[in-house]
């Protein structure tokens, strides 16, 4: 039997659960989840759940060449590196950043973020949002 990874990950997102894999040798978290560990090169990992809490460490505001009209329907957003509290670092899309506020917010990096889940064309996807108390 070939172990399924991608489908269970998206099923998890439907229930607002973020699934990752943990290396059985070095303990590094592999996210998005895959079979093997890309921190140490060991072949075996196992399922773990992530909290979805972390921080945004960089901020790129979208412009004509890299904007996504679908994102804009949800709200103002930026691209950036998200570091989750379990040690995962990924490039992601983060909501709550207007062009007007971007300069001020950039000077406040790192900013706390939390996961948000969005329905898109028959699947649930994962984005992040800057914590409301920062934006208040």
């Amino acid at each position: 039997m070939i172990e399924k990874i991608v489908a269970p990950f998206y099923e998890g997102l439907e229930h607002h659960k973020i699934l990752a894999r943990k290396c059985k040798e070095c303990g590094a978290i592999e996210f998005p989840p895959r079979y093997a560990c890309n921190a140490c090169g060991y072949h075996e990992t196992e399922w773990v759940e992530l909290s979805g809490k972390g921080k945004l460490t960089t901020m790129i505001t979208p412009a004509t060449l890299n904007s996504d009209p679908w994102n804009a329907k949800i709200g103002p957003y930026c691209y950036g590196i998200v570091e989750l509290e379990e040690g995962v670092r990924i490039n992601s899309t983060v909501f709550g950043v207007t062009k007007k506020k971007a300069k001020t917010l950039r000077n406040q990096l790192p900013l706390p973020v939390h996961a948000i889940f969005a329905e898109r064309d028959g699947y649930t996807t994962l984005f992040f949002q800057i914590d409301e108390d920062v934006l208040a």
Partner: protein, 427 residues
Amino acid sequence: MVSGRVGKYQRSVSIIGVGMVPFCDMADHPEMEGLTEGEFFGTAALNAMADAGLEPRDVEFFYHGNANPKFHNDAATPNMQVAQWFGMGGKGSAHHSEACCTGYVALQEAVLDVASGAHDIVLSGCAELACGLPIKGKPAHIRKRLLLEDLIPDLEAIMDRAYTRALGGGHIGQDDWIDLYRTTYGLTDEQVDEVLNTMSYHGRRAAVLNPMAMHRTPFEELAKEAGYDDPMEYLRSPFNPKTTQYLRVTGNATNADGAACVIVCPTEMAHKFRKKPIEVLGIGSSSLELMVPHNEMEITKEAARQVYEVTGLTPDDIDLLFVNDFVLASQLCAAEEVGYLPRGEGWKWMLEGRCAFDGDRPINPHGGRTSYGHAFGVSGMADIYEAVLQLRGEAGAIQVKNHPKTAMLRGFGGGQNCCIPILKAVD
């Protein structure tokens, strides 16, 4: 990421011939319009053979590279479809495709082949008609213009389909590294803009003098047409708007049609041929998917480490650097990462013009992707073509000062694949 290593070749390999078709948009050149992939690849291949003094019968095997043969050429077997154009019907060949890193991987394939002893004389080339699209049911000379709305959705193909496209992690690439640079060294947005515009300016100065380059109109002329006396003022103006947070129009590469080929053989045989041999001392390589933070920086660091380790060279040994800079800022960031410019100081060198083709630490003397043009899979091979001319001392009006002996090429493509060869002129 997991680091790798590369060992010494079983036998030394050198470049003995190079050939090219200039980068252009065929539709703007009546004498080029209607040419096909076979004619492009065939011309570059026969030019490389003539450069080496070879006939097609002398070449034992060839590699064919193209960034996306199905999209641009509606071909699943492009190597077989071009072989007879340059007299290699019946010989062995293979196709490979690694987005904009294709041209550098093309050199690696040929070098590994000859180094292994499998063949003595191998041709490796790339052809890309990146300004147009094939039309189903019509012969290859009938094409339609490629529009941005065709290209943008297709560019998604460089991103992982399981996760990156769906999770929105792949759109940071153009600005990521220069943003990190700005933050690390405390530059203002205005300083970054000035550095990038200066790089655009010097790249165009070189391209104007380079018969292989696509954009050959000086910025002075474009500025005058737009009502500016100073080309730098023009580059800062609304005539050159921002397309991303940092990059203006002139900071992005323009699609081009083009082809380029190289021929390699064992260095011990290389002196039999017409031109000064250029040895391939080693090639470092690394790749990381687009969702991994600072992936371009990380893979550049890793590939450079490998090639320095296997060659025993240091950055001080490198006389000339080429950087695949379809995102212009990569030229500066990669030059510092491979040690060619001092860390945190490179931006000042750029502003002083020291990295221009006629400066004391030249980078991309051919003009760089944003002025030379970007024929996707061919661009890396075009960089190799230009590096070979520089190392032979045959680069004409753009020949860099202090005749270079050793060149490094920071190959990069698909936003995630890095390949760094070091080339050296054989005495």
